[in-house]
Each structure stands twice: as structure tokens, then as C-alpha cells.
Symmetry: C2
Subunit: 329 residues, 2 copies
């Protein structure tokens, strides 16, 4: 593999001139440029980013932390990040942490070791202390889940308001007994969405029962099935369910179906996230859409700004209620 030296030699110029051609600097005579370009072609030369990166002390690589790549929630956000990254000539590395601190550490170290120029965390299980520590000396942005007390800039939606809208929608349809299938209270968004749920119930003076609030450890299908099974065993069954993720809601849908009840006739269901599969269920799922793509773009832009050394402010984006069959008689 040829290097810049050999190109310079073959073209009969200095390495500095070759570098100038490579970087499209203006101050090169067209004739010289041509000589260099020919040499590059003849030698099949490809510049090594290893040398360039060391010299410029940058890697042009961004890290994106997610708990699991199989979670469809993240796909659109990632596309947004990718889009902005590519426009700005950055690459990005999708880092699956599996909520495993060791994995997390690998990626934190990549930033510290200059293998990456910055990091976007979308992992709600991330070690906040370590993340804050990293952010002290390196560019870090949080996307979706964030630390209320920390100083790391974030992009998110108003989770409380979104939950409030979802529950209000169910109330307006005439439901009075509304259950909440929620995530673990250790997550900020869980607490925020519960608040929104409670606010809607209070506003309409509806009954509030602890047994209608079910907390799951994971946001997956099985937990949705299980949660719904529990709710259906209650003496006083809910007539509507708000699940804080579509996968949970799809699990609930399945269990309602299995038990012989109908959605939305017997029980209405609202999910959260508008994952692509939420449109493939039977019935299709009413859900809260987050502006995923925009969120990804915003996060990436914030990070790149950070890397450039600029100050960036946190941003709260709008959500939208998507009404589909699971709440339409």
C-alpha cells in the first residue's frame, strides 16, 4: 500500500504538495495538481486516516449508547443521528451496552482514548455518575432519558404531558377505570409518565387504584402479557389500559385476545413509541409518537457543536397522539 511519500516521489513534488492536493487547498498550480493526481492514480494510493487522525488529534467517530439494538424504539433516532453524522463527515458506532457496566466502560474508554470524539447516551440504565464524570472532560449528550440533576445537555420530549394526553384520550372515550402498565420507577421517564397519568385522572375526578398500576422490569412483550394477565384477574377490571411502550401494549393486546375479550370493545389500549409493528397488530395500536428522527438529528447536532467547543442547551421536542383501531370503536 502506497503512502504519501511515494506519491510525492513519483509526482516529483514534496509531501506537503501532495497533502495540499488531498485536502483541496487552493494554492496548488493546476499543472502540479495534475501531476499529483496522476501519481495517486498510478499508485492506487489511498490516504491513511490513521496518520491524519493522529496529526489532527481527532477520530471523527461518534459513539451512540443504547441498551439493545433489537429494541425498535431506537431505529428512527439512529437514522437521524446517522444522517447528521454523515453530512458532517463523521462516522458513528452503535454501542450496545446490554445494561452491562463492563460494556459501558469499554465505550467510555474509547472516548477517553481518543478513539471517539464524543458520545450520545440513549441508555436509561447508564451509570450516571460515570457519565457525568466523562462529560466533564469530553463531549457528551443525552437523548430521550436524562439526568435531572446533572449538567449534561439532553434532547427529550415532555413525558408527563405525553402520558397525560394518552390518558385524557381514553377518558374522553368514556373510560373511567384506566390501568397503567409502566416501567420500573427507577427510570425518570417512568416517574414522569406516572405523574401524567395521575394528573389526568385527578383532573376528571376518576378513581385511582394502586392495583391498576403495574410496574414491569422490562419493556418487552412477555411483560406486557404478564401485566395484562394480572389486571384481568382483578375483581374490578379496568376498561382501558395505557402501556408506556408499544411492545408492552402488544403483549397486553395478545393477552386480552387470549382471554376472549375484544379490543377496543371490552378494553381499549394505548401504547407509546409508534414502533413500526404497532401498525401491524390486529387491531392496530393507538400510540404516542415521539419525533424520533428529529430527536436523533438534534442530538447529533448538539454533540457536533459540543465537539467544536460550543455551548449547547437542552431541548424538549413535541409528541403526538396517533389514534388507531385499539381505541376506536
Amino acid at each position: 500500500m502506497a503512502n504519501i511519500q511515494q506519491v510525492a516521489q513519483k509526482a516529483g513534488v514534496s509531501v506537503a504538495t501532495v497533502s495540499r492536493v488531498l485536502n483541496n487547498r487552493a494554492s496548488v498550480r493546476p499543472k502540479t495538481r495534475l501531476k499529483v493526481e496522476n501519481a495517486i492514480k498510478e499508485l492506487n494510493y489511498e490516504p491513511s486516516m490513521l496518520g491524519r487522525n493522529l496529526r489532527n488529534s481527532e477520530s471523527r467517530l461518534l459513539l451512540v449508547l443504547i441498551p439493545s439494538i433489537s429494541n425498535p424504539f431506537y431505529t428512527e433516532i439512529i437514522k437521524g443521528i446517522e444522517n447528521i453524522a454523515i453530512i458532517n463527515n463523521y462516522n458513528f458506532l452503535l454501542c450496545e451496552t446490554d445494561s452491562n457496566p463492563q460494556r459501558e466502560n469499554i465505550y467510555f474508554n474509547m472516548v477517553k482514548n481518543k478513539l471517539a470524539d464524543g458520545l450520545i447516551s440513549m441508555d436509561p440504565t447508564v451509570n450516571m455518575q460515570k457519565l457525568n464524570e466523562l462529560a466533564e472532560s469530553h463531549p457528551v449528550i443525552q437523548c430521550s432519558e436524562y439526568d435531572e440533576d446533572g449538567t449534561i445537555p439532553y434532547v427529550t420530549i415532555d413525558n408527563e404531558l405525553a402520558a397525560y394526553h394518552a390518558v385524557k384520550h381514553l377518558i374522553k372515550l368514556g373510560n373511567e377505570n384506566i390501568a397503567l402498565i409502566n416501567s420500573d420507577e427507577k427510570y425518570l421517564y417512568t416517574r414522569q409518565r406516572r405523574k401524567g397519568y395521575e394528573r389526568a385522572l385527578n383532573e376528571f375526578h376518576l378513581p385511582f387504584r394502586n392495583e391498576w398500576m403495574y410496574n414491569c422490569e422490562q419493556l418487552d412483550f412477555e411483560n406486557g402479557v404478564h401485566a395484562m394477565r394480572m389486571l384481568l384477574q382483578l375483581r374490578e377490571k379496568p376498561s382501558a389500559v395505557f402501556a408506556v411502550s408499544d411492545t408492552l401494549a402488544i403483549g397486553a393486546l395478545k393477552e386480552i385476545n387470549v382471554s376472549g375479550l375484544k379490543v377496543p370493545g371490552d378494553i381499549a389500549v394505548v401504547g407509546f413509541d409508534k414502533i413500526s409493528f404497532s401498525n401491524m397488530t390486529n387491531p392496530t395500536l393507538t400510540t404516542i409518537a415521539q419525533p424520533m428522527y428529529k430527536m436523533g438529528c438534534t442530538a447529533a447536532n448538539m454533540l457536533i457543536n459540543r465537539i467544536k467547543g460550543n455551548k449547547v442547551e437542552s431541548i424538549v421536542l413535541d409528541h403526538e397522539l396517533i389514534i388507531r383501531e385499539s381505541t376506536m370503536g
Copy 2:
């Protein structure tokens, strides 16, 4: 940010000794090692991979080409790759090509530019000529889809045999009119699976009709719905459907449901891939499971071997028929 020089100075040793400590070389007196370790701690030193990588002329980064990260088909394979990568102290970059040649080029260039040490392609739409070209001078492995005529090593399953098994299963259940919802014939796996379908029909002397073979451009839900709609409009309807992907099959399921027919009572359905959602449908989906995780591990091991300069041979892995509700009365 401190560098190796400053550590050496603070510890009162040479940079070579610091390097030895960093790389756990044996020939360092415990006392000296301690001095260096203290200096590292005091200065909060983190070695720069930029320097190390240039010196070692390696990036320890692997590229994984996929058409779309939102395709659940790839998740388990990726986990396999990740696992092996981490064990061997490699990182990997998930590269979404969107079947866009320009994107593809970015990633090919990363390998040429030494920003990545090798590449695993899982993209059936990849430009085979360019891939073969790259493989001439750089480590490349194909996973799942491959080039029959090329010389690039690959991991895959026996697609023809898998399709044969799926169709035979439907035949054994008493089905005689079996439709095939297939992908585009430009893909090798499409042609291979069609062959398996035809072989099973031939073996049992079953009718073969062109109108029962439906080719889709994309393997998504909407195409499955559409394909099934076409099949249901035929005068002679099939009593069973083999779809070459679960997302297609789930679309077919939906359409059958909408049309008032029952699965498997009226029409039995078999999918392909065993994506996680195939277990969440109603009824659950009979499908062909590929050893995804193993496939990923195998591909990664092959690539790392390639990078080390070893010769590697292509590998064909076993598949498995997973019988679930969509074919069980």
C-alpha cells in the same frame, strides 16, 4: 490531556518503560512499574489509541454492512459478531447502506483508508464487483447472502434445503395447494428458496402454478399484505403459504385475518427467520430458524482470521423448522 512523555517525566523513566507498563510487558521491575502506575494515576493519563493505531497500522475496528438496522433479521447475527469482536479486542461499526451505493462507498473507503481492518457484508444488494475488488487487497467476509462465482469466503445456510423442509412440512399436513411469497429473483437466496419449494412440490407430484408464486420487491409487512391479497383473489386459492421472511408472513397473516379466513384452519402459513415478533402474532408463526448468533460468531471469527493473514474456508450452517400455531390445527 497528558501524553506518554509527561508520564515518563513524572515517573522519572523513559517513554519506552511507560509503554512497557501500558502493554504489560514482563521486563519491568515491580518498583519501576509502581512508579509509572502512580504517575499515570496522578496525571489522569489515558493512552491515545490514535498514536498506537498509527504505530501498529491497525484500527481494531470491523465494519458490518447491513441494508437497514430496523430489520430484525440481523439483530442476533450482530450480537454474535459483537461477542467475538469484543473477546478479540475489536470494535465494530454497524453500517447501514440503505441499499445506497454512495453509502456503500463510504464504508469501502473506510477499509481502504485503514480506518477499519476488515468488513463483513450482510447486504444482499451490495455491489458485488466492488466488493470483490475490495476483497482483493483487504479482509472481507460475506454473511448469509453471498456471491456464488466470487472468491470471498462466506457463512450461510442451505437455503434450498430450508425451503424444501418448510414446504414439505406443509405437504405433510395435507396441503396440496401451496403458494410461495418470495423475494426478488435478483437475490441468490430467492432463487435458492424457490428451487427448494419446487423440489418439494415435484417430489410429491403436487400442482405447480405460476400464479401461486408471488415475488416482492421488499421483505416487509406491506408487501406481505399485498401478496396475500393477490393470492386470495385467485379463483383457485392456496390452502397454505410459505413466505420467505417472517415480516412477509406476518403481513399475510394480517390479510387472511382481515378477509375473514382463519389461520391455520383455512390457510396455513410458514415464515422464515424466526424474528422475535414471530412469537407475538396471533396465531404464533411457524418459521425456519437460522442459527443467527452462531452465524455472526462464525463470520466474525473468519474475518479476524483473515486479518491475521490466515486462509479461511466458507461454511454452511444448519437450519431448523420451528412448528407453531400457524400450521397447527
